[in-house]
């Protein structure tokens, strides 16, 4: 039994729903009690879709358990096929239906439906959402692009005429919608045709065309890794797995794709502003900023590299909730000299953040909340997603434009360079401090930030501040004041000091300055 308030991943049938909702012409008949229909709102509310996801739930009740839940499943199956007329259906059970053991696969097979039925075995009590998505996609690929009876060596087309599939983007993925557009444009820019993008936007019959491509591009190994492995073994398709996140990784990605396609990789485009922005004088203040990174394995590992190599940050924490990819994250952590955190317990992640005292958090929606409580700047880099992670504007994480986006979205939560200096210089200015209202609001706005700090700083205060020290603390710019307070209190507590004086404040400052 695991105690949790928030979870990073949903159950595996939600992963299957993400695949169904990504594709056209596919319908999911899910044996599940009525409460499980909440999952619809992941798509209609969080992803802001204009259609319901293609899922029919049996929504059985307690009174049905004594009667015939299997019959309810069969009726739901028949009705869904008749009403929605899909090319194929996937069938499965959620956690509760798994316990009542109705065998959706056998029941659906017995119906002799006029369309393909792909049964899913998704063990709810041991697996999670990403695994469920990967397994569903793999089952679909196997069903619609079956292994040849007599495997023959793949005939590779001449260089310059090769095509590829792009695998992995799904509904509810973190910026998958925009990534796929960016990556597709880059690949086509190499003169490589994109045979198929899947699962997002593909139909079951499209999947039958997967083997026509010369190789595969796996953007999100959490979702397409299993299917790509299988395609390699059974259809001889090599694949590229470098996620093109950041300037360097994008270049490596393009080199790898160009290598498989037999073409020459291009020079970076003029629209790539990122390396210059990072070198510009205003970015000096980014140097050595301590950043804590947590997310799915793909985004976390890529973020660590961008943070360290392309923004000049110090990675002070790196972790993932994707246990299936723990090895990759451990290997990356070694590179940055940090202890890898492999956990899906968000409380453990919070503890690690408090211990690491970062100046920036790159995480998921959960870390965003931790950051809010600890008053640390934060940018979201990975699922689990929230409605604000589906921005109206084009905002990829991958490719050249993705690198620009990363610069903006990770740097903006931090105070800007010149601004940081000005705030220090003018902190005693009568209209330029945290209690003064913004100048454009005149004198009407309330000065609430001091009380806000009182309520938002959650750490205990075992030591007292002298009036003078408290006054001196207020001279520190408000955006670093919370941190200064915490550091000083920690410093005092560790030394058994009862009172914090001005001396203590500056002793602590000297101690923590790097």
């Amino acid at each position: 039994m695991q105690l949790t308030v928030w979870t990073y991943e949903g159950p595996p049938h939600v992963g299957a729903m993400r695949i169904a909702a990504s594709m056209r012409g596919l319908h999911y008949v899910l044996h599940a009690p009525q409460g499980d229909t909440y999952a619809d709102l992941l798509f209609t509310m969080i992803e802001r879709r204009d259609t319901r996801p293609p899922v029919t739930y049996t929504t059985f009740k307690a009174q049905d358990l004594g009667a015939d839940t299997a019959e309810i499943f069969k009726i739901a199956c028949r009705d869904a096929v008749e009403r929605f007329q899909p090319e194929a259906i996937i069938v499965g059970a959620s956690c509760t239906a798994e316990l009542i053991q109705d065998d959706p696969a056998g029941l659906a097979a017995a119906l002799a439906l006029p369309i393909p039925v792909i049964p899913l075995e998704l063990p709810s009590y041991s697996k999670k959402e990403n695994w469920g998505a990967a397994e569903t996609f793999y089952r679909l690929v196997r069903a619609f692009a079956p292994a040849p009876q007599r495997p023959a060596p793949r005939v590779v087309r001449p260089a310059g005429e090769r095509s590829c599939n792009i695998l992995g983007p799904t509904s509810l993925g973190f910026r998958h919608r925009d990534d796929i557009e960016e990556v597709r444009r880059m690949i086509e820019g190499l003169g490589v045709a994109v045979n198929l993008v899947a699962p997002l936007g593909a139909s079951p019959s499209d999947l039958a065309r997967l083997p026509e491509a010369d190789f595969n591009v796996v953007l999100y190994p959490e979702i397409a890794g299993t299917a790509a492995d299988w395609l390699k073994r059974n259809h001889g398709q090599a694949f590229v797995t470098i996620p093109p996140i950041g300037v360097r990784a994008t270049a490596e990605f393009l080199a790898a794709v160009a290598g498989l396609a037999g073409v020459v990789p291009p020079a970076p485009p003029a629209t790539l502003r990122m390396p210059w922005y990072s070198r510009s004088i205003d970015s000096t203040y980014l140097t050595g900023k301590r950043v804590f990174i947590f997310g799915d394995a793909t985004h976390a590992v890529a973020a660590a590299r961008v943070a360290a190599d392309e923004l000049g940050f110090v990675v002070c924490g790196l972790g993932t909730y994707s246990r299936e990819f723990a090895r990759e994250v451990r290997a990356a952590a070694v590179r940055y000299g940090v202890e890898p955190l492999i956990s899906d317990d968000h409380l453990a992640v919070e503890d690690a953040i408090v211990a690491a005292q970062p100046e920036l958090i790159l995480g998921t929606q959960m870390e965003r909340h931790v950051a809010k409580r600890l008053r640390i700047p934060c940018a979201v880099i990975s699922a689990p997603v929230h409605v604000q992670d589906f921005p109206a504007r084009y905002s990829p994480q991958m490719g050249h434009e993705g690198a620009n986006v990363l610069f903006d979205s990770w740097v903006h939560p931090l105070m800007m360079g010149l601004e940081e200096h000005l705030l220090g210089m003018f902190r005693d200015d009568f209209e330029f401090n945290d209690t003064a209202a913004p100048s454009h609001l005149g004198h009407a706005a309330p000065a609430a930030s001091e009380t806000e700090e009182q309520t938002l700083v959650v750490l205990e205060r075992p030591v007292a501040w002298t009036g003078e020290a408290e006054k001196e603390l207020k001279k520190i710019p408000f955006f670093v004041r919370g941190k200064a307070r915490r550091n000083t209190e920690r410093f005092a507590a560790e030394r058994g000091l009862q009172t914090i004086t001005i001396e203590t404040l500056y002793d602590a400052k000297a101690h923590f300055s790097r």
């Binding site: 105690l3 709102l41 029919t56 307690a62």
Partner: protein
């Protein structure tokens, strides 16, 4: 079934013969009521004993993680628990011990049953008894089921209140009559009602649930109960089993509902009609004025209500009688005939009523009717908007203070806003 939806004749429906079609239900399960209960009872922690799905439901339905650390959580059942490798009760004790050491401020721990825990017949009653002994007197331990195979959305609150009722101390046999208002109300509404009851000379008055778990009111033969919510069947039964009398009344939505609801209490406590009129006069006037300002925007509008919270008949009554709307269909996940008798007596006759749901066929009816506004759950709202039908999320009716005189205008405004938005947007098709 893909053909035109069956026409519902007036004579076939209404509370006497509701339409019942068995198909997919599109409702939240009872676990979701924890989202408002944990804000209401401020020293309680709700621990769902369930699956990863339950935990995922709570964070998705609660949107969104609006609370950095809410007073609810999930003890996720894992494979080793089911395989018998771990003793579920021992595991639960371990989880609870960890939780209470993290949150020593918790005075009431509520174990909440889920679909999986019900299906594997995990005895939470036994667990609650054991844990109560272990953690007494610091923490009281209760249990109820919010499982989706037994409850929808608001019924979780019903089961919680029924569990609370079993904890209430017995009132003195010679105690004078007292009033208990059952059903979670926002604090501001509770305070307004308390002032009115005080002015009417009705008392002592207790609210269930109270804001702190230590404030459990006594119950007995002299207790008169006003239900603040129509979905409290189990709670009402439990209160009656403790000797209390449940007063029949419509629900306090809108001026008319609030007045009838207050009057039921006034009559039970022998308040003179003149005094009742004098005390409620100002509130009634304010409510009528506030709704009146919205009436022009709602008058004649055709409203379709999907089943969600069981508040639907009361909302329909308010919209029809006070806002002048035309009700196309009232859906409710479940109909408690006795508690809703007062509402149906006020509703215009012949409105089609459906109990339970086949969501696809209900959507067909909604599309065919082309209402001006559909009141529905979050899973349906954006798809209906995309089809050109304005929607009101029903969840706001549960989360927003809408009861009583001072909120009647707010209640009307909730339905006006989606229509007003359509009117102000100039975005083309």
């Amino acid at each position: 079934m893909n053909a035109m939806p069956p026409r519902i004749g007036a004579q076939d429906c209404g509370p006497a013969a509701p339409l019942r079609q068995r198909g997919q239900h599109e409702v939240f399960c009872g676990l979701t009521s924890i989202i408002w209960l944990h804000r209401k009872v401020q020293d309680a922690f709700f621990l769902i004993v369930g699956s990863r799905t339950c935990a995922h439901l709570m964070q998705s339905a609660a949107g969104v993680m609006i609370f950095a650390e809410p007073r609810f959580g999930t003890a996720i059942i894992e494979e080793r628990d089911l395989a018998g490798m771990a003793d579920l009760h021992e595991e639960l004790d371990r989880v609870v011990a960890r939780l209470l050491s993290r949150r020593p401020d918790i005075r009431m721990l509520v174990l909440v049953g889920s679909c999986p825990s019900e299906v594997i017949k995990l005895d939470l009653g036994k667990a609650a008894e054991r844990l109560a002994r272990l953690h007494a007197p610091a923490t009281r331990v209760l249990h109820f089921s919010g499982s989706g195979i037994e409850t929808t959305f608001t019924q979780g609150e019903d089961n919680f209140l029924a569990a609370l009722v079993r904890e209430l101390p017995a009132a003195d046999a010679k105690a004078p009559p007292s009033l208990m208002v059952a059903g979670a109300l926002p604090d501001v509404v509770e305070d307004q009602f308390r002032r009115i009851f005080d002015a009417l000379g009705i008392g002592p008055v207790a609210f269930l649930p109270s804001r702190a778990s230590s404030g459990l009111p006594a119950v007995g033969a002299a207790t008169r109960v006003l239900l603040a919510q129509p979905y409290l069947g189990e709670a009402a039964r439990a209160l009656e089993a403790r000797g209390a009398t449940v007063l029949a009344a419509p629900f306090p939505l809108g001026e008319e509902g609030t007045t009838a609801w207050l009057r039921a209490a006034a009559d039970a406590f022998g308040v003179a009609p003149g005094r009742f009129d004098a005390i409620t006069r100002a509130g009634r006037r304010r409510a009528r004025e506030a709704v009146g300002r919205r009436r022009a925007e709602l008058e004649g509008r055709r409203v379709f209500l999907f089943p969600d919270s069981q508040l639907e008949p009361s909302i329909a009554r308010f919209l029809a009688r006070e806002a002048g709307a035309e009700i196309v269909e009232i859906g409710s996940p479940y109909l408690h005939r006795q508690h809703l008798a007062g509402e149906f007596a006020l509703l215009p006759p012949g409105i089609p009523f459906s109990e339970g749901q086949d969501v696809d066929r209900q959507l067909d009816r909604c599309r065919a009717a082309r209402p001006d506004l559909a009141v529905c759950g979050m899973g349906l709202a954006n798809p209906l908007e995309a089809e050109g039908i304005a929607t009101k999320w029903s969840i706001e009716l549960v989360f927003t203070p809408v009861q009583g005189y001072e909120q009647a205008g707010d209640l009307a405004e909730l339905f006006v806003r989606p229509l007003a938005r359509r009117a102000v947007l100039k975005l083309g098709a």
